[in-house]
Assembly symmetry: C2
Homo-oligomer: 207 residues x 2
């Protein structure tokens, strides 16, 4: 069978890999909750915005709709199991912060929502719009503030996310990021730049 022989497969949500993030929020009563989302992504650069799609039945849908706020917490290897737990358990009757031994901290820039202290990066968002798509409602959030673990900053104050051991979600499975293949612009960069950025003698190779 030739290398790129194609078959048609059933229509599904096949875009991969996707992020997997822990969305923390709270109601006006102050009780914090966490849900896990893979239907999330950046949707705009200026101003910075992201989207998260949530089913109407989720408790977090109620909280985020009520307050107009949520926090996107990135997921590192040490948070992976808690991340999965928050995606399979409901928050209406269970305190998931407690179940997962996580620490709610007031989210910077927001009035109600909490962030997860154990997350390497927490992104405070204000809801800009909600669009009903079918199974999910898509919340677009404008990013108001970002906090990060201080160890992720280098001596020049640059955020080095490659040290955060972030997790990606691929077709139902959680993966650590592995081998670095390149960087934005490497296909047209000089060999010197490539060697410097990749930390080794790398041939530019063919496109």
């Amino acid at each position: 069978m030739a290398k790129h022989d194609k078959v048609t497969v059933g229509v599904s949500t096949i875009l991969n890999p996707v992020p997997v993030v822990m969305i923390s929020s709270a109601g006006t009563d102050g009780r914090p909750n966490i849900m896990t989302a893979a239907w999330a992504g950046t949707v705009n650069s200026e101003p910075p915005m992201l989207s998260v799609s949530i089913r109407k039945s989720r408790y977090s849908h109620k909280l985020i709709s009520e307050t107009g706020e949520f926090v996107v917490n990135l997921v590192s290897k040490s948070l992976c199991k808690a991340c999965d737990y928050c995606g399979v358990r409901g928050g209406e009757k269970e305190d998931k912060f407690k179940s997962c031994s996580l620490t709610p901290v007031k989210a910077e820039g927001l009035e109600y929502a909490y962030a997860i202290k154990e997350a390497p990066v927490s992104i405070s968002c204000v809801v800009k719009s909600v669009t009903e798509l079918g199974s999910h409602d898509m919340f677009i959030g404008e990013i108001k503030s970002i906090t990060a673990d201080s160890y992720l900053l280098d001596e020049k104050g640059k955020l080095c996310l490659e040290n955060a051991r972030l997790v990606a979600y691929n077709h139902g499975e959680y993966y650590l990021l592995g081998e670095k293949l390149g960087f934005f612009g490497y296909s047209v960069a000089s060999e010197d730049i490539i060697a410097k950025r990749m930390g080794k003698d790398v041939k530019k190779g063919k496109k």
Copy 2:
């Protein structure tokens, strides 16, 4: 410094890791183009939908607006350099399929757009809506058809994306997926299921 001491960093598009996909399209004149997007993601399950955010200045914005069609091609390790190239070069005057030695094939289920033969998975989409967000316009696409390299299907016809060597994008760098950490539901699964799915004797550990 304590482990989760926090610093506030500048507001930016910090959600990571994100997918990186090659969006192929064509105008009514039939000339195909490719652009690379990281501002892409799944936004709905039923019916399956995804979003791609594109700057108005991109040639692909014109083509997709004209035809209402585009293809999302997943990126494997062997496509990574071409993927980067299609993200840094414009398509109005350059035939990027030719420059990258890629093969346009008619996209299944669409009238104008082409898919990339060398991509492991190609997702044919019809534009459902376009929303202006600022720097980018967000196109929501309804998935009409999916083709995949036949070697990715197992003997039961199940698509095994873990064999596709997919690439993720993390803060300006391209990464292969690395160590598998778990699967959806593993935080509440029995040790037998975990051992079976993870292929080794894995302790469930703490949440």
